[in-house]
Symmetry: C2
Subunit: 278 residues, 2 copies
């Protein structure tokens, strides 16, 4: 597994890197960013995954997320993957909410997406192995978070892999994609019309079907213009029924942007770091 | 003086705004950003100006500068102007270091720049009046900083207006533009070939000619690829001769990017806030 260094910059005493590799899962080159905080030689550090939202690449959170100070203080590696395969020969759609930039963290089974849109396998299997091989990461201590479509990704991946992540949080996640326009479009497009197959990619449905997490931290702005797509109320109800300790914070006046995310990022990093401490 | 709101987003308890207005100084529309931290009704807050570098608009530092947490904690308004006039009918040059995006904070006297390139008047006179009229700003408590070309702007504007700014700092400033390629190109292009006229726009020359500041904080990365354009050594020598208390920190491993700026931004905001406290 060869890794190409796109860029490395000193930041907050550590290194913010951007890397590219040929992905077997997607059959394309994939780019991701990793922030490695200052650390003692030979140290093995906990990892926080951040999955991004619609239209984003690794770059949005890397530039605007304001996670590095908190990660440097807590000694946490921060990983930001891309949101879909990209490039010539990869299927796309002119809409912002489907196709490239909108992989929804599923392995597509439908044409024309199936050949490359394998973001579930990429995030669950291929990229963790690459991180373990190339960075000073303690893969026994992983947390996961994400924003919007990436919040959906974080919740569903964690619910399907309950032993892998010690802690899970999200910013404005699409909590019930099977019940909202963004999700119905993406899941039907990538997975077909059998809604039973969508349930493994829907946090609320996974919880209804028995998946469990010990606790969950979710921030959402009460001025978010996409609340009808996010449905934090459905997540709240599902967690209440299932006995999942959800801390849902409706942040007054905040919207869906990185101004919202960056405001609460340090709290999320700190929350994960507490749970990832040895 | 009418102000158009381009965007306002809640961030760190305050409001990050972007605004546009018809500038009399430049004869164009100008865009700038203002972060107003949380504050008591009727409060009048100190102001920190941040002047940006080559190729930048207000947006670079607004998105990548990581100043909002520190400004919210200290109660400081943060203002980020554009770096030149822009638009149709405004002269430009294909180079990244001249023309639009590269105004160098001078009032151009040479053709074709003179009609619109009046960034000195814009930053020194017009924009402060606009800020005073539209924001809860205490204009008796102003500090100024900037990066690269904007560090040059911050230093020269402060040296020419020693009673206006209580505190001055810079990130990787072009300290002696009259002696380096970036500055020679810009100052000759905007002001003509009489080098005596350049001295009012050259921090080292201004200090040599008698301008004074009580103290100065400058950070520069020792891995900055543009050190030959920045010449912190000349600033250090001029300050030593003049008795200006310069704190020059050569930050090991840091480059010229916003990864460098954002790392030290909170320290600069805090340094200014201490000096701007009532």
């Amino acid at each position: 597994m060869t890794l190409t260094t796109v860029s490395e910059n000193r930041a907050f005493g550590g290194v913010q890197g951007v890397y590219r590799h040929a992905s077997a899962a997607t059959g394309t080159d994939m780019t991701f960013s990793v922030y490695v905080p200052p650390h003692a030689a030979g140290a093995s550090l906990p990892v926080l995954w951040y999955l991004s939202g619609l239209t984003c690449t690794h770059a949005n959170v890397t530039e605007k997320g304001e996670f590095r100070r908190a990660c440097a203080e807590a000694g946490v590696i921060f990983i930001a993957p891309d949101t879909s395969p990209r490039g010539e020969g990869v299927a796309d759609d002119p809409a912002y909410d489907f196709g490239q930039g909108a992989g929804f963290y599923v392995d597509a089974t439908e044409a024309p997406w199936a050949p490359h849109f394998a973001m579930r396998s990429y995030i669950e299997d291929e990229l963790p192995a690459l991180i373990a091989a190339h960075f000073p990461a303690d893969m026994a201590r992983q947390g996961i978070t994400g924003h919007s479509m990436g919040g959906h990704g974080a919740l569903t991946i964690a619910l399907r892999n309950p032993d892998r992540y010690a802690c899970v949080s999200a910013f404005a996640p699409i909590a019930a994609p099977g019940q909202v326009p963004w999700g119905e479009k993406a899941l039907s497009g990538y997975l077909g019309d059998d809604r039973h197959l969508w349930r493994a990619h829907d946090a609320v449905a996974l919880i209804e079907d028995g998946a469990r997490l010990p606790e969950l931290l979710v921030d959402v702005g009460d001025a978010d213009p996409f609340l009808e797509q996010l449905r934090p109320d459905l997540l709240e109800a599902a967690c209440a029924t299932a006995g999942i300790a959800l801390t849902l914070r409706r942040q007054p006046g905040y919207d869906h942007s990185y101004y919202f995310i960056s405001t609460f990022m340090a709290e999320h990093v700190g929350w994960h770091a507490e749970r990832l401490a040895r």
